[in-house]
């Protein structure tokens, strides 16, 4: 599904003394199957933007188009489109409520009007996708799972709706390194097997650099940059100016370069940085 955001503005509490402009003329596109990273400091309007993309918030002005149709229209078509856009909130584990994991994951498909068997099949598939064994964990209460497992179960709840666009709002926040790795691998896996559009919000530049093809930088409710991941992370000075940074691999190369080594500073991934460093040090006299 192709998502197109056109001139989107959102004002909270319009007309009241604490009126705030959260989004101020945002425009961008997500092509089908694309992996887009969204970065920006806290309060830049990222979460507000995400909630517009599946129609939870209505724009003050501007439109959100999914395959060319305005998702905020009152038609059945727009409703159906909204359902094909899955949104995973920050700390999604706080939305778990059912007595068993499998029932909780079934909640979404059930709301889509699927039969009991279909729901179950979808739920089991989604649980496998996030790396939870439905036979082992399916009947457990969601509240007995570990933090990382809870998070994955909650993400499965959204995946079970088989969205064509998956929006993830800081899916790794507050997890330990293993939990983070599991979630990131799961996202990669979903991407590969389901071929869906993914929009990932993250404060971890490393995660964005490792996964995204294109990066949007949001600052004060406006799009500051919209370019390929390499291009965005090449603009380190500008990123630092708004409280962001280059990925840690690039920062390491920057430091080496500052100490007089000739290294390729445009590298953003850990693997390539490793090779580059090995290459440079082999030439070491």
């Amino acid at each position: 599904m192709r998502i197109e955001v056109k001139d989107l503005c959102h004002v909270y509490s319009p007309g009241l003394p604490y009126e705030t402009v959260a989004l101020d003329g945002i425009s961008f596109c997500c092509e089908p199957g694309e992996f887009v990273g969204l970065i920006g400091r806290t309060g830049s309007g990222k979460s507000t933007l995400l909630q517009h993309i599946n129609g939870l918030l209505k724009p003050s002005s501007g439109t959100v188009l999914a395959d060319g149709v305005d998702i905020n229209e009152k038609s059945e078509e727009a409703r159906a489109l909204r359902r094909r856009i899955g949104l995973v909130f920050q700390y999604p584990e706080y939305q778990l409520f059912e007595e068993s994991v499998i029932k909780d994951v079934c909640f979404g498909p059930k709301n889509q009007g699927l039969s009991e068997e279909d729901c179950k099949a979808r739920a089991e598939k989604a649980l496998r996708l996030v790396g939870l064994d439905p036979d082992e964990k399916g009947q457990a209460s969601p509240f007995t799972l570990s933090g990382g497992e809870k998070r994955r179960a909650a993400i499965a709840g959204v995946l079970a709706m088989e969205p064509e666009v998956l929006i993830l709002d800081e899916p790794t926040a507050g997890l330990d390194p293993k939990g983070r790795r599991d979630i990131l691998m799961m996202i990669e896996n979903v991407r590969k097997t389901q071929n869906i559009t993914i929009l990932l919000v993250s404060h971890s530049m490393d995660d964005v650099a490792a996964l995204a093809e294109r990066v949007l930088v949001i600052e004060k409710g406006r799009v500051l940059m919209n370019a390929s991941t390499e291009e965005v992370f090449a603009r380190g000075g500008e990123l630092r100016a708004i409280g962001l940074s280059r990925p840690s691999a690039s920062r390491l190369l920057d430091m080496l370069a500052d100490r007089g080594l000739t290294v390729d500073r445009s590298i953003i991934s850990k693997e390539e940085a490793e090779e580059e460093i090995m290459r440079v040090f082999k030439k070491w006299p």
Partner: protein
């Protein structure tokens, strides 16, 4: 639209002598004012009440529209009281229909009751407009302290009140968040019959309860970690001071009450 837009309490921030008064003074003053409203039995007395109220409002720098806003929720009650008094009082009938009769005494009593109710609300509204909810509970705690000898847990009551006030916005935000998350999973909170709607609240209420317990246990831990052990021997960061302004305010209130009781015109 969003739940978090709902404002809690109605404190109107301003720099005024009324805002600066000790909350205890304001609570006592308001109580005296409320008592005086029930001592008044002539229209002349209300003129004095109104004059005092107008004076305090003028000093407090609170816009009149905010004070009138307090009337809105109780407007129906006032109208009902007026109607009952107008039609169901004994006296010289001006107009009658079946068991309803409009009497001169009835109209007078209706006006009297309405004025009393309106002034009652103005008085209490003024208190909440000029005092932050937290200082209000602080003031109450201090005022209730003498009763703790009789076994009343004054400090605990006040602490409970301040904690619940503090966490209402947090829980509202939490509700908003969970509601959105479940809506994103296709939950529908708005359509269907009563039974279906009640059922649709389960995905909202269960996570909300879980969150509330989590927040409560985290708060308890944080308080414990800072050595909270109840009200015994506890001192305040901003002790309430009875200043010169408070003395003047109480003198004005005493003079006012004396006038209501002893001056025959009122």
């Amino acid at each position: 639209m969003a739940i978090k837009d709902i404002t809690l309490g109605q404190f109107y921030p301003a720099e005024s002598p009324v805002h600066r008064l000790d909350p205890r003074t304001k609570i006592i003053g308001t109580m005296l004012f409320l008592v005086s409203l029930f001592l008044v039995n002539k229209m002349g007395g209300f003129a004095l009440c109104l004059a005092l109220l107008a004076f305090v409002v003028a000093v407090s720098k609170i816009p009149l529209s905010y004070i009138f806003r307090g009337l809105k929720p109780v407007l129906a009650l006032i109208v009902l009281t007026m109607l009952i008094n107008m039609f169901l009082s004994d006296g010289e009938p001006l107009w009658s229909f079946a068991f309803l009769k409009l009497t001169k005494e009835g109209i007078y009593r209706a006006a009297f009751m309405a004025i009393r109710l309106v002034l009652l609300i103005f008085g209490t509204t003024l208190l909440t407009l000029s005092t932050k909810p937290i200082s209000l509970t602080d003031g109450l705690e201090r005022l209730l302290k003498p009763f703790s000898r009789l076994g009343m847990p004054a400090h605990e009551l006040a602490m409970m009140m301040s904690i619940s006030l503090r966490f209402i916005p947090t829980l509202m935000e939490e509700t908003d968040r969970i509601m959105k998350a479940q809506t994103a999973r296709g939950a529908d909170f708005e359509s269907g019959n009563l039974m279906q709607r009640a059922k649709s609240l389960i995905p909202l209420l269960v996570p909300l309860f879980v969150s509330a317990f989590r927040i409560a246990s985290e708060l308890a831990m944080a308080m414990e970690a800072r050595c909270y052990h109840g009200g015994e021997g506890r001192t305040r960061m901003n002790p309430m001071v009875f200043a010169r302004g408070d003395l003047y305010a109480l003198l004005v209130m005493t003079a006012y009450l004396a006038a209501i009781i002893f001056v025959p015109v009122f």
